[in-house]
Symmetry: C2
Subunit: 209 residues, 2 copies
Amino acid sequence: MKLYSYGTAPNPRKVVIFLAEKGLDYELVEVDMMKGEHKTPDFLKKNPSGKLPVLELDDGRCLAESIAICRYLEAVCPEPNLFGRDAFELGYIEMRNRQLETELWSQIGQSWVHGPVVAKMGIVKQIPEVKEASDVSVEKYYERIDKELAESEFVAGDRFTVADITLVTGIDFATTLVGLKPDDSLANLWRWHAQILSRDSVDDIVSPK
Amino acid sequence: MKLYSYGTAPNPRKVVIFLAEKGLDYELVEVDMMKGEHKTPDFLKKNPSGKLPVLELDDGRCLAESIAICRYLEAVCPEPNLFGRDAFELGYIEMRNRQLETELWSQIGQSWVHGPVVAKMGIVKQIPEVKEASDVSVEKYYERIDKELAESEFVAGDRFTVADITLVTGIDFATTLVGLKPDDSLANLWRWHAQILSRDSVDDIVSPK
């Protein structure tokens, strides 16, 4: 199978980490988003939404949306389990993952879209008030996560799951490209972050060598 | 089990439809969001995010996030299947569902937050430019869905799935409360909508008797 990806972009990175956790082989195909290669007619056949990542199976069928790709991979390669083993855990891990997506990732996304890097691209009308509000939401959510990680070793309990992948990719993107690094005082969050970055599956993009 | 819900709010409605499709019994508990009952200390113990719906199991454990609740219900009651039977279908249905969430629901949400109903509540700073942009995105996405539903009976293929629940609740909310009814010319979308509303599990909130 092939994974269409772009550098350290956060959504493709989720799948790259997930594949490494599963120990699966694949071909990595770089799609240069800065050159608009994800919007060409050929690429839109693979994903009409014109987004990365896309997983192309050996029979040519394609899947988009990072977590949908991960769920496919979980089904074809169940171990190590990353989405939950019983009904409650399946619901609980999905809940934790979705809270991060709807309450943190969405706000990081707003700060990105209405921030200086995207401004230079000239593709979206900048609304500074949006970024002001989302910056505040991100900082508040970091504080909530820090409290939660005082009670829990990982995002969704006592073991590594897909929800940890969602959090680390979100925080690292916010830190490196959106100017929203969590405050140094958030000790539980940084304890967790160091633990996640020590995994073989996770490249350190925050402080690259 | 108890479902904490509020009227025809779109996220609780997803779970109400899902439960009816599964034929499961439960107690419905109304939480008056207009009175802030979803932000009380007692309710925040059930869901620290202060949102509806919440499913409370008989042992007191709670799950939030509508799709996470649905996934729990799918695991305890696998038939009729609504999330996919094999690896590819599991990925494909999740992809379709997430495209609706990230490309349509998110934009309906922006038009709601920066629209007249929320303005009257005085809880969020209104940014008219945001609503102007999201209104356009919603209309464009309706057109995309209409084309897709010319090729496919349901949102994710030839059978009813959770992705149809996500679309109908999004469109009905947009129509009744956000002023974003799909144009009458979108014949495939309305063919699909009539088909979905004919199901016993789906109350007609767009044209209530």
